[in-house]
């Protein structure tokens, strides 16, 4: 029924389980909270640290991190649809485009709303789009749904290309950035509320590079890091909401629907309503990511929302581990980061990216971070294998 969870436990998976065993001392609430806070701080500080190896040498690391967070946000949204509710959506880019264009139209093309007013409207519009697409199509299942949604992604792009009101194929340019708090950034002045210096590893022991600063809440073309911090904050808020909703009746209803729609219905789950909810929430999060994309790029056009992106989004969810929010984050990060990291290899980078995906699919078909239940199934199988091994030895 569910292709994403059919896998053979690999040697790598068991090795990972063995590697993690000593870390079980952290399996209590206080140390989890402390580790969580540290991880969040590292995530925010990442673009300032200039870590060797991790930092992309051939493109602006702040910009890459923005893309990573944007893809992670998309993957978290799509994970609700694919991972939780089990609906294969191959046209997710349509929602990304809807969010981006709502911001483009509201803040620049027809009106001049401030970004933070346009953002919730963009999310709302995308959710409504999700409901409009879902209401007639969620009655079909499995592969048929995948085909219908794939068509939807393409239809959105074609509508934009042919609608004068949306700027046709020329797109929408000079989309304003979010308002800067504090001094405006300019040449030689990062601006913002206050400035934080970057680290520099080349000038040891003078590791703090006072000549290179980033302004907090300063949104300009030169420095992408404030945009990264903005979308990272949105990502964390979405992740918290995702956890609260998943660990409730709603999450159980999604899982039950994914596992066996008829049985769920007979157990009193209004499956259609819950599938529609998953679709609308996923769409809203995709739209949110699109809105951030529009204000960061300041320019959007239909070609930015090609069907290929949808496949990349699905790849992010599957590579990360469908059904696990942290898997989705990791998958989004991998898909956005790897091609940029290998930009120095120019034409070869997509090949390296493709090989990396194949390696992941072979060695870890359940994803980088499979959901809790899949991990438990691996553990159960490992135990069974151990027991069988003992009987053979005896």
């Amino acid at each position: 029924m569910n292709a994403y969870y059919d896998f053979a436990p690999s040697g790598l998976a068991r090795g990972w389980a063995a590697f993690k065993r000593p870390f079980h001392v952290f399996d209590n609430r206080p140390s989890k909270i402390i580790l969580g806070i540290i991880a969040v701080l590292i995530a925010y500080a990442l673009p300032l640290l200039n870590l060797p190896i991790i930092t992309t040498p051939d493109s602006d690391f702040g910009g890459v991190l923005f893309d990573v967070a944007a893809y992670a946000l998309i993957a978290v949204g799509l994970n609700i649809v694919i991972g939780y509710a089990g609906l294969l959506d191959l046209g997710y880019v349509g929602f990304y485009a809807t969010g981006a264009y709502t911001v483009g139209v509201l803040t620049q093309y027809h009106w001049h709303w401030p970004f933070f007013l346009a953002l919730p409207v963009a999310i709302g519009v995308t959710m409504i789009t999700g409901v409009l697409l879902g209401a007639p199509t969620l009655r079909v299942r499995g592969d048929y749904l995948a085909i219908v949604t794939m068509g939807f992604g393409e239809i959105i792009r074609l509508i934009i290309t042919n609608t004068h009101w949306l700027g046709k194929s020329a797109g929408i340019s000079s989309i304003p950035m979010p308002p800067t708090v504090g001094t405006a950034p300019g040449a030689g002045n990062p601006g913002g509320l206050f400035q934080v210096p970057h680290l520099s590893w080349g000038t040891f022991p003078n590791v703090i590079d006072v000549g290179h600063k980033t302004g907090v809440l300063a949104f300009g073309v030169l420095d992408a890091i404030p945009f990264y911090w903005l979308i990272l904050t949105a990502l964390f808020i979405v992740l918290i909401g995702d956890k609260l909703v998943k660990e409730s009746r709603v999450g159980r209803a999604w899982e039950a629907t994914r596992e066996d729609e008829d049985a769920a219905e007979v157990m009193g789950v209004p499956t259609f309503k819950y599938k529609l909810l998953a679709f609308a929430l996923g769409a809203g999060i995709g739209g949110m990511s699109g809105a951030f994309y529009a204000t960061r790029q300041t320019f959007i056009q239909p070609q930015s929302f090609a069907l290929l992106l949808s496949e990349l989004f699905v790849a992010a969810v599957i590579v990360g581990g469908a059904g696990n929010r942290w898997g989705a984050v990791a998958g989004g990060a991998v898909v956005a980061y790897l091609p940029e990291r290998f930009r120095g290899f120019s034409d070869w980078r997509m090949l390296i990216f493709g090989i990396a995906l194949i390696v992941l699919a072979t060695w870890r078909p359940e994803g980088i971070f499979p959901p809790r239940r899949t991990r438990r199934a691996i553990r159960a199988e490992a135990v069974v294998e151990e027991l069988e091994g003992e009987t053979v030895d005896a």
Partner: protein, 267 residues
């Protein structure tokens, strides 16, 4: 637990129900009713229409003609989850658990059937959410204990033994707080000892105030546990009565064992 009404009130009523799939008549004018507090057995040879009967009651199929009333309400074209909320729950002949969820979560899905928690109540962790969640969990644990699977509450449903899976299905159906519990061949694949334990469980379920409709192949189990039996053959009701009457009914014996004239006519 459902409150106990005066015994003998009609809970479910099938009135001249016919279902046709193209040229095949799966149910042909079937009429019977279930009284509150009883265990009714529905038996018949393979292909007699027992499961079809279940499916039309629970809204999986729509009757071509005839009426079904549950607790005084017509079920025609009612969505399946609403029928469940009215108080009819069922298990499946071929086990259909939510495999990648734990035993406890499986039962909680059933317990959620009457929950008022939706997206916003869950997102903002309202008091309603906290209260319902606690109640669902407590009820699910209680039911797991009742059917005897409590020790494996945190195990994935797919990892449970066959017998435990069958019992888990009963617990999940009971969690929806039904007035009528429909069991579709709950003893399929059981050995005699397990069948004995299942019979005890079904009696215990009835003693809790549930009404039970039981589809079963095993004659000894049906005779031992039911109050009344309806016999189907080729989609028609051929007999109805107490177990002792059914055992001696020539039409039933003919249906199960065959009679010579029928064999001649068939060949």
């Amino acid at each position: 637990m459902p409150e106990s009404h005066t015994a003998g009130r009609t809970l479910l009523e099938l009135d001249d129900v016919t279902i046709k799939f193209g040229g095949l008549t799966a149910l042909d004018g079937v009429t019977f009713d279930i009284k509150e507090g009883e265990i009714l057995g529905l038996i018949g040879p393979n292909g007699a229409g027992k499961t079809t009967c279940f499916n039309v009651m629970t809204g999986v199929y729509q009757a071509t003609s005839g009426h079904i009333r549950f607790d005084g309400q017509a079920l025609h074209k009612m969505p399946r989850h609403k029928i469940t909320r009215l108080g009819m729950a069922r298990t499946f002949q071929n086990i259909r658990l939510f495999k990648s969820m734990t035993a406890l979560e499986n039962v909680m899905v059933g317990a959620d059937a009457h929950s008022k928690v939706g997206f916003f109540r869950a997102l903002f962790r309202t008091p309603v959410h906290r209260k319902t969640e606690g109640e669902s969990r407590a009820r699910a644990l209680e039911l797991l204990k009742f059917v005897g699977v409590a020790g494996r509450a945190d195990e994935l449903a797919v990892n449970l033994s066959y017998g435990d899976q069958r019992r888990l299905e009963i617990a999940r159906a009971m969690a929806t707080n039904p007035k009528l519990l429909c069991l579709d061949e709950p003893a399929a694949g059981f050995n005699p000892a397990e069948k004995q334990r299942l019979m005890e469980l079904i009696r215990k379920v009835r003693d809790q105030g549930y009404t039970v409709l039981l589809i079963e192949h095993d004659m000894r189990l049906v005779m031992g546990v039911t109050d009344r039996i309806v016999v189907l053959e080729f989609g028609r009701k051929i007999a109805e009565g107490a177990p002792a009457e059914i055992r001696d009914n020539p039409a039933v014996i003919a249906a199960y064992l065959g009679v010579e004239e029928d064999d001649d006519a068939a060949s």
